[in-house]
């Protein structure tokens, strides 16, 4: 099965005319980016990734830009040869909607590069440094029988020096790799407990590394787990190291690049959030409309039935982790619901799905309807269907949707989804585990909205309660997460680290506000954050204003503005200035400030605009909700 991972089996095969398509991109830059992206979503090998990377470079040199993608600058700090890796990363990035620019440290002195404030790495102005060292770079002298604790502490000190070097010389986030142990054993199984053996030391070191990285607000890339998945004897290649200082076997470069890119995508809030599932031969064996309740395969005691049960179990665990589930099936509605209602062994039930679409429309139309009903963009959706025709149709019409190649054998369904890494996360908060419920509540709210024609009585029926509070320690993690992940309702898309967020809390020049919302359908959790900076004694500039799209259309933003104005007034502020900095994702809020009654004061060449609102006399329409406001005195 290591070839399953090595070949990125969940991705479609590259087109036979891959080379000539690369050539066309340079020749026809207008269609270029969509071609780049569609090629990048296929299972390219290392040579093909390098060719695509060169094509992307030429495309950029021709003055074209990947304007639909998120720019990211990565410095690759490694003790191995970087050449293949950098190209593979550049070629993989469009798969995740990223426009990646990367440089590498000097491979023979990665640590010196970090500690030297004048090194190329620090002048690059990276968004993140990927600390891609392997065990060969560690001070790990074989000391069999010696103290494992001492050895682990020595390694931790070493990494600490590196992380501090980054903190002192750079604003970048650190992505730190765990360390796969070498494949060779000394005394065999006993190595696991043999003090001072590489397996023993690195095993404990990886665990401790996890804590250390969390503490400094870094991001962990678990290369040790990746290497274990493919097998250490496959991952490592002494000859590749001896010949060319490749850290691991060249065969896994595409897989490694995918892991790095999915992690970066998660850092930028671009992980997928919703899984739309077909029913027949996807959630059970057979066709419910033909085979009937007794004929479909979904039960213990039958190998195929058990495989589908395993898949359902896996889907439920994804749902608990915050992935929203939905159904899109070509079926009569009542027939499609039958197994969920009446089959005793089904694990999935109707209540687990936010949207249930069983009809005879084509799947792309259904996917668009699901996207609208959940207020989730198509780029948040994964579509799972056993039917190659449906998969290809969705790929062609809705390229933003991720569509994994599904294996013939349902026993591999869960592994396929898991390997594809659609739901990569860099953190997990209690709010995440409730997310599927939030969206389900949303779909019910949408259904209610259809019944209630008058918007005011609809908003009243929601029985909303809102909480305003300055930033503080317990909310800080979630605030930082929102600041770094919100793309759509985000006026400035300025990203801040947890440390920066903490500094705003303490500074007298900043006014901060976190917002929570509850309604008749449940607790929405923290849904908005605002940072105002005092421009003078008389004016606040709204540096950051973002909101979760789950609560759109309820005039929550009006209530937030009213709260800002109340605090501003209390502090003698006369004007509030709003900025809109356009990105490819935030056109939703282009008219946010004029809609709230701000006056236009400036437009800039980069498309950004500035808006002003006098504090006294501002008239902002409230929404029906109970307001809990932590007074200014508490800040």
């Amino acid at each position: 099965m290591s070839s399953f991972l090595q070949n990125l089996a969940w991705l479609a095969k590259p087109p036979a005319d891959f080379r000539s398509r690369c050539g066309q991109i340079t020749a026809d830059p207008v269609q270029g980016y969509s071609t780049i992206r569609s090629l990048a979503t296929t299972a390219l090998d290392t040579n093909q990734l390098l060719r695509l990377a060169k094509t992307i470079h030429r495309y950029r040199q021709a003055g074209q830009s990947d304007d639909k993608s998120t720019p990211f600058r990565l410095a690759y700090v490694s003790n191995g040869t970087p050449d293949l890796i950098l190209g593979a990363l550049t070629g993989t990035a469009p798969r995740y909607g990223l426009a990646l620019e990367c440089i590498a440290s000097n491979y023979d002195q990665p640590v010196q590069d970090i500690l030297n404030p004048d090194s190329l790495v620090h002048h690059f102005n990276a968004d993140a440094l990927l600390i891609a060292l392997d065990w060969r770079a560690l001070p790990i002298a074989a000391n069999l029988g010696g103290s494992t604790n001492d050895a682990v502490n020595r390694l931790l000190d070493y990494i600490q020096v590196i992380l501090e070097g980054v903190r002192d010389n750079d604003k970048a986030t650190c992505i730190v790799q765990t360390f796969p142990p070498p494949a060779e054993r000394i005394l065999g199984s006993y190595d696991r407990v043999l003090p001072g053996s590489p397996l023993n030391v690195l095993g404990r070191f990886n665990l401790a590394l996890d804590d250390m990285v969390q503490r400094v607000g870094g991001v962990l890339l678990d290369v040790a787990a990746l290497a274990e998945s493919v097998g250490l004897v496959n991952w490592h290649s002494s000859s590749a190291w001896n010949l060319a200082k490749f850290q691991f076997s060249e065969a896994f470069v595409p897989l490694y690049a995918d892991y790095v890119c999915r992690t970066i995508a998660a850092m930028r809030g671009k992980s997928r959030r919703c899984l739309v599932l077909d029913l027949d031969n996807t959630l059970w064996g057979g066709v419910i409309g033909d085979d009937g309740l007794a004929g479909i395969q979904i039960a213990q005691g039958d190998a195929t039935g058990e495989a589908f049960l395993d898949f359902q179990r896996y889907l439920l665990s994804l749902r608990k982790a915050g992935v929203v589930l939905a159904v899109s099936s070509k079926n009569n509605d009542q027939t499609a619901r039958l197994p969920f209602r009446q089959h005793p062994e089904m694990l999935l039930r109707e209540e687990h799905f936010a949207v249930f679409q069983a009809n005879w429309n084509d799947k792309p139309s259904n996917l668009m309807a699901i996207s609208q009903q959940l207020s989730l963009g198509l780029e948040s959706i994964v579509f799972v269907d056993d039917n190659p025709f449906e998969r290809e149709l969705v790929r062609r019409t809705l390229p933003q949707v991720a569509v994994p190649e599904m294996p013939e054998d349902p026993a591999l369904y869960a592994l396929t989804l898991s390997s594809a890494g659609y739901f990569e996360s860099i953190s997990f908060s209690p709010e995440d585990s409730k997310r599927a419920d939030f969206y389900q509540g949303n779909a019910r709210r949408a259904a209610l909205q259809l019944q209630v024609t008058d918007i005011e009585s609809y908003l009243e029926s929601l029985q909303m309660e809102i909480w305003f509070q300055p930033f503080e320690e317990t909310g800080r993690k979630r605030i930082t997460q929102l600041i770094n992940k919100s793309n759509q309702f985000n006026l400035t898309t300025r990203r801040y680290t947890e440390a920066e967020v903490a500094s705003f809390e303490a500074s007298p020049d900043f006014f901060t506000m976190q917002v929570r919302l509850k309604d008749a359908f449940g607790d929405n959790g923290m849904i908005s954050a605002v940072i105002c900076r005092a421009n003078s004694g008389l004016e606040w500039v709204i540096d950051t204003w973002l909101m979760s799209c789950r609560v759109l259309g309820r005039r929550v933003e009006n209530m937030v503005l009213r709260e800002i104005l109340a605090h501003a007034s209390e502090r003698g502020i006369r004007y509030v200035r709003g900025l809109y900095l356009p990105t490819d994702r935030n056109s939703l809020v282009e008219h946010h400030y004029p809609n709230l009654g701000f006056s236009h004061v400036a437009s800039h060449a980069d498309g950004s605009t500035e808006w002003l609102l006098p504090v006294e006399g501002a008239n902002v329409l409230p929404a029906p909700m109970v307001v809990h406001s932590e007074s200014l005195a508490a800040q």
Binding site: R19, T46, D83, A240, F246, A251
Partner: protein, 91 residues
């Protein structure tokens, strides 16, 4: 057989050097191909290993002077492992 290996090598060379007009022959050497440096040399060998399902040791790699040497080496290795030849070698 050697013809098929040679055709397979041509594909590999075109991939690695991004030149779709390149045709390999026995007497081709690094000096005659633009971009044939130590890194692309290793890439050629690794891609060939994967394509033909064989392993090339560092010692063997060090003795290759021209494409003909690589061709002979691959041929000898493929002859020795006919089963792998069947499953991995598709030109």
């Amino acid at each position: 057989m050697k013809d098929r290996i040679e055709a397979g090598l041509t594909e590999i060379f075109r991939d690695v050097f991004e030149d779709d007009t390149l045709v390999v022959h026995r007497d081709l050497t690094a000096r005659q191909v633009e971009g044939w440096d130590s890194l692309t040399h290793v890439r050629l060998l690794l891609t060939a290993e994967r394509k033909f399902g064989v392993r090339i040791s560092a010692a063997e790699a060090g003795q290759l002077k021209r494409v003909g040497d690589l061709l002979d080496l691959l041929h000898a290795k493929i002859e020795k492992s006919p089963r792998r030849y069947g499953s991995n070698f598709s030109v």
